[in-house]
Amino acid sequence: MVTVLTESGEWPAAAAEASGDALWMSAREAEAATGWVAKPEGLCKGEICVPLPRGREQEFVRTGRMNLGALWRHLGHPVVHSARGDVWVLAQSARDRSASRQSLMAPDFTLPDAAGRQHSLSDHRGKKVLLVTWASW
């Protein structure tokens, strides 16, 4: 069992196989965790499609499976995994994050309160918000 940590959360991937820098996931689990799908024009997420390097398609896509480790490196996003290969973080590159920061829209997040109840920033649209951090340390 591999756990994949993405922008959208923590995803158990029962059918995943990790070896070295490769993380092969079933097309279905890959799409659920990351939104990326294989199409004739390449690998796509929403409107965006990335053509696969010619002659290296097999590194990224095989029947019904996708190598997210290779895709993430190809996209220039940070990807790190545990020594055993059973936990992977597929993160967002600074380049992409900077681009979305330029919009100046406050990125949404969902976090728990002390009772475990989830709150999203977007629940409070229509009010001015002071979002302030602290810590017990």
Partner: protein
């Protein structure tokens, strides 16, 4: 200080969301219980706000207007590094430092009050190009450090402390300006504060650099 401000400004379409950047889930609970806040208090064990908003220390705050737009990006929220001139044995603070600390806090709180009352007309609400100019630093090392931090936290929660700690250490090396990452590994004293010798060593190594980054706000020391 947030509870008073929250009560004072509650009728003005304003709210406070306080987020504890604590990775050990139980740690902030006694503090939350003792403060009995009536504003929203959340717990961010994976430092999501560091990733999204570039938070590197606490207290840092972001001002968000009614339309969900950032009008002041992550910055020091009313704190001043007076503690660097504190007598470390007696914890006594020279009087001028205590005054400057109070001034930082008052200046910041007054700026919030002004923004809440006057919105975009407040001199403290940045215009879009000013917000962009004040966005916190972001590069691929920082993005990778946050990914490593998240991996480390996940492993520690699962009981794999040794490997988890190693990832936190790597994250801290990649993003040395983040006190949030560093402090999550640091030892704590008997008051639960990360004020052991390694903390002071790291603070002293800053030299002329600020521990709480300077805030671009009129009247701020």
């Amino acid at each position: 200080m947030w509870q008073t401000l929250h009560e004072e400004l509650a009728g003005l379409n304003f709210m406070i969301i306080a987020v504890a950047m604590d990775s050990r889930e139980g740690d902030p609970l006694p503090w939350i219980e003792a403060a009995k806040p009536t504003y929203v208090c959340l717990i961010d064990r994976d430092h999501r706000l560091a990733d999204l908003y570039g938070v590197v220390n606490v207290p840092q705050a972001i001002w968000i207007d009614e339309n969900g737009r950032i009008v002041r990006p992550a910055e020091t929220a009313g704190a001043y590094e007076g503690f660097r001139r504190m007598n470390r044995a007696t914890r006594e603070m020279p009087e001028d430092v205590a005054r400057t600390t109070a001034q930082a806090r008052t200046t910041y709180l007054d700026a919030i009050r002004d923004w809440v009352r006057r919105g975009g007309a407040s001199e403290h609400a940045f215009r879009p190009e000013e917000v962009r100019a004040h966005l916190p630093a972001l590069n691929e090392d920082i993005a990778t450090a946050q990914a490593m931090f998240r991996l480390g936290q996940f492993l520690i929660r699962r009981g794999e402390r040794e490997e988890g700690d190693r990832w936190l250490g790597e994250a801290s090396q990649r993003h040395p300006d983040s006190w949030c990452i560093w402090r999550q590994r640091a030892g704590v004293n008997d008051q639960g504060l990360a004020a052991l010798p390694d903390f002071w060593q790291r603070v002293d190594a800053l030299g002329d650099k600020r521990y709480y980054a300077h805030v671009d706000m009129k009247g701020m020391p």
